[in-house]
């Protein structure tokens, strides 16, 4: 066990750790806060919340985002909701239950201390957001409404229609803009962080590129917070925004921050399948659809072929020729098995040749049965019709379905051109969230002193698999309620550090490195576009480091990625200049980092000889094809250190003192 990986979990009882920590952590007095500068990179839930909260406390904050406005960060796209252990529904929820569900959902690969703290502050997040004017859904009595989400037995999810992420982000964004208006935060939109500046081993600032003018800028900070999100775009196709990238985290990694559990990737089972090679991103269809949709593929291969070349419509396939494979394999949970299980089962069928669209990568999500038999018949009974016709059943049922999922059905039709009231939806799993990220201790500090990682950018709370509605919770917990305390622990010792001039040799040298790299990219003047390499990388990652992995595939993936890296650096074509608004140049830098990250992900996946959560190694499964965890040998966090000649693995052992480890079963 390496000494450097001190998680700094406070001593004591699990449910007293955070309280005790808060009352004993070092504080910075108000006068000193005014002379301490903090850089926040990213303006999503974690970034906006942190920037606003720290500015409110009196720190001088600079916030950076690559989008044209902080409000566009990809947190905005989260649909479902945010968990909090409020127990407003009186259904037995508690901090402990939320903690327990999160650890279990994460397949016992998360830290108890961090997760318990997350569950503790979850409740305050809702209070804070409501005070900010976030319009959560409410009951007629005026109190907050909750819904249930996968993997839990209580209703603890707060939501704002299907736009919860948007509303929470706009709340944090307005708090941020308030501080901008007061001059406490200086906002740098359309700025991309391209390196961390370290002086005497501590993070002291960043090099950022003004994306409009192309000018490189040096910014000093007593501490640097990376709130730059996840790296799902390493797969090229994902539900992430086009601009989501790993660059900030990767540069930090190159400067000494360890990358933890990079192979843990969450694949969401219900996304709209890609329609062809032009596909640029994937769109999520809410998981709630699985409540009323039945998932199937044809039982006969010849039918699947006919569907693929368009000579057969799904509605023509008889009931007995359909394979409702989830209901077949998991009779107890059926179509409602957890995300990872549903995703793998779809891949298994498609790999076996039963995929239903031209790309061979799609299965059906069919509402017909529930529309007619469940809702149609109930409605007919309500209307007093004894022997409804098939047309009546469909009409009545469609009305109910429209009420429940109308906007999703419309969106599906908008994107695919197919009316899901008439034909089953096509769905396929897609990369959705990355549980891995920069290694951080209890303070959210990386292995570089003064450099922090918050939200999806860190690895800390979701273990090997994230539960639905927990990403928003973690981003806001880190930003609003954790970092304002934990940063004091570090900054209290920095009050004597005067602002360092950006003419310091470390700034000059780092800027030079960034500039050289940009020039290098521009000067290759090869023949292939950045996207060409990104697509190739994505395909390798998806095929060999996606839903299911095996040692052989991973080894060949590493070799292929190294090949892509060599080709990229010798034959990529980046048009335009450095000193202008150059979106291809931005992409080139990001893809260069994705290529390196891809290799590490494969390496990490190869190292982890077990299956857990989002990491499924084909060699490690039960006879029935379920994930087989190895708690004896792999109950640790993999933290990778970047070294001259490759990566070095450090292990942080996970101790479960409050939860009994058990196998997950959904049979």
């Amino acid at each position: 066990m390496s000494n450097i990986l001190d998680s700094k979990i406070p001593e004591g009882n699990l449910n007293e750790k955070w309280t005790k920590y808060k009352s004993s952590v070092h504080l910075v007095n108000p006068a000193n806060k005014r002379s301490l500068e903090i850089i926040v990179v990213g303006s999503g839930l974690a970034g906006s919340a942190a920037a606003a909260s720290l500015a409110e406390m009196g720190y001088k904050v600079k916030c950076f985002c690559f989008q044209d406005s902080p409000r566009r960060a990809h947190s905005i796209a989260a649909q479902g909701g945010i968990n909090a252990a409020k127990n407003y529904q009186n259904d037995g929820d508690s901090t402990y239950r939320l903690f327990y569900d999160t650890i279990k959902g994460g397949d016992y690969r998360a830290r108890e201390g961090n997760v318990h703290r997350l569950a503790e502050v979850s409740s305050s997040i809702i209070d804070q957001c409501v005070a900010q004017g976030v319009p959560f859904a409410r009951e007629y009595g005026g109190l907050l409404s909750n819904r249930s989400f996968g993997g839990t037995q209580v209703q603890r999810t707060f939501y704002a229609a299907g736009q919860t992420g948007q509303q929470l982000l706009l709340g944090a964004y307005s708090a941020l803009e308030r501080q901008v208006g007061m001059g406490q935060v200086k906002m740098y939109s359309r700025h991309e962080m391209l390196d961390v500046v370290t002086i005497d081993g501590k993070a002291r600032g960043i090099i950022a590129r003004d994306l409009v003018t192309g000018k490189l800028e040096r910014h000093f900070g007593h501490a640097v917070l990376l709130c730059s999100g996840g790296y799902g775009n390493v797969f090229y196709l994902s539900t992430n925004a086009m601009g989501s990238n790993v660059t900030a985290a990767w540069k930090a990694h190159k400067r000494g921050a360890y990358m933890a559990n990079p192979c843990y990737t969450q694949i969401h089972p219900t996304c709209i399948p890609r329609s062809g090679d032009h596909q640029s991103k994937l769109t999520l269809m809410s998981e709630s659809l699985r409540n009323d949709g039945r998932i199937w593929v044809p039982a006969k291969k010849e039918d699947a072929e006919a569907l693929r070349n368009g000579t057969l419509r799904p509605t023509q396939i008889k009931e007995e020729d359909r394979d409702y494979y989830l209901e077949r394999r998991y009779p107890a949970f059926g179509n409602l098995v957890p995300r990872d299980v549903a995703s793998r089962a779809a891949k298994e069928r498609c790999d076996a040749g039963y995929g239903v669209n031209a790309t061979g990568e799609a299965v059906y999500l069919d509402f017909f049965y529930n529309m007619t038999e469940k809702y149609g018949r109930t409605e007919a009974t309500k209307k007093g019709i004894e022997n409804p016709t098939a047309a009546q059943l469909k009409e009545f049922g469609a009305g109910v379905i429209k009420e429940k999922y109308g906007n999703l059905f419309d969106m599906y039709k908008q994107i695919t051109g197919v009316d899901p009231y008439e034909e089953p939806m096509q769905i396929y799993p897609a990369v959705h969230y990355t549980m891995g990220g920069l290694w951080v201790d209890y303070n959210l500090m990386t292995t570089v002193p003064g450099l922090y990682a918050l939200g999806e950018a860190n690895f800390s709370d979701h273990g090997a698999n994230r539960l639905g509605a927990s990403a928003l919770m973690q981003g806001l917990a880190d930003g609003y309620f954790v970092i304002p305390y934990t940063i004091g622990d570090y900054l209290a010792d920095e009050i004597r550090t005067k602002a360092i001039s950006t003419d310091h040799p470390a700034f000059v040298a780092t800027e030079k490195e960034v500039e050289d790299k940009i020039q290098k990219l521009l000067n290759i003047k090869g023949t292939k576009s950045v996207d060409h390499y990104h697509k190739r990388l994505g395909k390798i990652m998806w095929d060999k480091c996606g839903m299911a992995r095996n040692a052989e595939g991973l080894k060949s993936a590493i070799a292929e990625i190294q090949q892509i890296k060599a080709e990229f650096w010798s034959n990529v074509r980046v048009p335009g200049e450095a000193n202008e608004f150059n979106q291809e140049l931005e992409k080139a830098g990001r893809v260069a980092d994705f290529i390196e990250l891809g290799e590490l992900m494969c390496k990490d996946a190869l190292e982890r000889n077990e299956s857990c959560g989002g990491h499924f190694r084909e060699e490690y499964q039960t006879n029935e094809g379920e994930a087989l965890r190895d708690d004896v040998n792999f109950a640790f966090v993999s933290a990778w250190e970047n070294q001259e000649d490759g990566w070095k693995l450090h292990k942080e052992e996970l101790k479960f003192e409050n939860i009994k480890i058990a196998a997950r079963s959904y049979k």
């Binding site: 905005i76 004017g133 803009e177 308030r178 996207d531």
Partner: protein, 248 residues
């Protein structure tokens, strides 16, 4: 499909721009409008030309980045969708499509089809918030809010800040954007203490940014991808009158 494009090209804010003709072959009806631009850009890069700059990010209709004025309409021919959700099946083989950036003095062109919308951020910074520091909140359910008011506030809060309202308005007015935020907070009890200051400050900033004034044509609401209603503007007017008449 084959598509002919007339696209606004402008190197930067200072440069003069012009419409340029492009042809895109092999367009699939299943492509989104932006994916069609990806294909065109790929082609331009391979040929050694400068690709077309345009703003986009989430490509699922919620981030508000995409901002193309297509055949004379913000976000193109369909109601209630952003450019990223517009698909090529809405066009015919051989169509000529004119694509321009949002046009407004307050939205200067950054490059090609990309514009600077930070004016919106400054309006929010002027007052589009509730002043509550982290950690000061009471229990969320201590403040019951009627479902109707909450739902209405949500409808106003659904604004994605894309700027289509400004782009559509013949006066390049930002009233729909500003009123959506004013309304959201005016409808909620939490927003009351600062209501007067807020509307005055936001309208003031809106005017200072150089947006035009509202003449109630309704184009903004008709083109809004989230269907923000004109009643928001009426509410803001009321709020503004009452703030002026009874405020400090």
């Amino acid at each position: 499909m084959k598509i002919n494009l007339k696209v606004w090209r402008q190197k930067n804010n200072k440069a003069k721009g012009e419409l340029k003709d492009y042809k895109v072959d092999h367009v699939s009806p299943d492509m989104s409008f932006l994916e069609m631009f990806d294909v065109l850009n790929e082609d331009l890069i391979t040929k050694g030309d400068d690709p077309i700059a345009f703003d986009h990010d989430c490509r699922e209709g919620i981030c508000g980045s995409c901002s193309m004025h297509i055949n004379g309409r913000p976000h193109g021919p369909l109601a209630g969708v952003t450019t990223c959700q517009l698909h090529m099946r809405s066009f015919k083989d051989g169509d000529t499509i004119v694509v321009e950036p949002w046009r407004a003095g307050a939205f200067p062109v950054t490059k090609d089809l990309s514009v600077d919308r930070t004016a919106f951020d400054r309006i929010i910074a002027a007052g589009g918030f509730i002043s509550v520091n982290t950690g000061n909140a009471q229990d969320a359910n201590n403040l019951p809010i009627g479902k109707e008011a909450a739902d209405e506030a949500f409808m106003s809060a659904a604004c994605i800040g894309c700027g289509a309202c400004v782009a559509a308005c013949k006066n390049a007015s930002a009233m729909l954007f500003v009123s959506a935020k004013v309304s959201q907070l005016a409808l909620l009890p939490q927003g009351q203490p600062e209501a007067k200051m807020r509307v005055m400050a936001m309208v003031n900033q809106m005017d200072a940014e150089g947006f035009g004034s509202c003449t109630n044509t309704g184009a903004c609401s008709a083109e809004c991808p989230k269907g923000i209603d004109l009643s928001n503007i009426a509410r803001m007017n009321r709020e503004f009158f009452s703030a002026n008449l009874t405020g400090k």
